[in-house]
Symmetry: C2
Subunit: 210 residues, 2 copies
């Protein structure tokens, strides 16, 4: 359904926003997506994924590790961040494992979706705003605590099979929906890959597609 | 050297434009690069490459063959073409070998650089404007003939070791310059990868960088 044919008064579908916490381009998109969604009266459904799992299917390698492409990508990320007016500091280890961060988000999201977004922004800010380390469960729990999430309950949850399964299911659903990278967006069924597609998304939201 | 510090009256460096004839995004860029270069008083140095050779170093696979990513890319290419107002028709075989096309261009370029650009545009138009087949030397020679290039001389040239070596040397130089995909641009030493970086290039040309 496009904006043009949505019945008046019926809430529009949210923008599905898929990202890996280890993805600098995902971080950049996360700084801009709310503002764009607001402009077009949309919600954002924030969905952390693990590129490592998706790359097993697509055969991709971590971008920054690839000869020739890696050095280019680092330059492009930093240039794009400056163009977007977003401060970025690369963590020392790139890419980094983001399993605890992603699991924590879904556990919080199932209890309080708004707080999950607060947690996502705090985690991304630590990783790419400050160039910090969010790899371990301990770091994730500490940051969650700083935004008011119960440390003990989250620590216990991160060891639970159901919480592990929740993330796995989300990633499988993402791949089924065609998600092949980070950031990835689905707007009214239309897929967009890359922070460099934000202008396409904006035009899609404004016009209902072309 | 940036536009800002170029001495007045001294000609500005050309935009190096690298592309594979088999690249739909390269085709799209080829429809727009002249207009942008003209706006900023630049020439374009058109440099065909072979992604197959570069992919041996970067480990990449042909985009359209990759699970999940391939179907997305096809959709993105067609959507981007519509957004840019450029007609595109995919050839039946994708990606296709583009060795004879690339070799022919350098042979013509060494004799008449302007005619080489005419040939490039005719080849891209046949491949992605009409969805035609430019894989074989015979097809390349026929298209070259249609823009006034000597068929017999080109046919002979395409078998020469020096002509083969010329392309090989160009691709090695491109990789040395950091070229990892198609289209790829170098503007005053600054690399840009992707038709989705045309807006960055335009801003770079206008401002001298950021």
């Amino acid at each position: 359904m496009t904006e043009a044919d949505a019945p008046e008064g019926e809430p529009k579908a949210p923008i599905d926003f898929y990202f890996d916490f280890s993805s600098p381009y995902g971080y950049l998109a996360a700084q801009k997506i709310d503002e764009m969604a607001d402009l077009y009266d949309r919600e954002v459904d924030w969905k952390p994924i693990l590129l490592g799992v998706i790359f097993k299917t697509t055969g991709a390698q971590p971008l920054l590790d690839i000869p020739i492409k890696g050095p280019y990508a680092r330059r492009d990320m930093e240039r794009m961040a400056r163009m977007m007016g977003v401060p970025i500091t690369m963590p020392e280890v790139m890419p980094f494992p983001s399993i605890p961060a992603a699991r924590a988000v879904y556990w919080v999201k199932d209890r309080d979706p708004e707080q999950a977004v607060v947690l996502i922004k705090a985690l991304y800010d630590e990783a790419f705003g400050k160039g910090g380390d969010i790899r371990d469960a301990e770091a994730v729990v500490r940051i969650a605590g700083s935004v008011g999430i119960d440390n003990a309950a989250l620590t216990a949850a991160l060891g639970e099979a159901a919480v592990k399964e929740r993330l796995k299911t989300e990633i499988e659903a993402a791949m089924h929906a065609g998600v092949c990278g980070s950031p990835f967006f689905i707007v009214d069924g239309e897929p967009f890959w890359g922070v460099d597609r934000l202008d396409h998304i904006e035009r899609w939201l404004a016009t209902g597609g072309w």
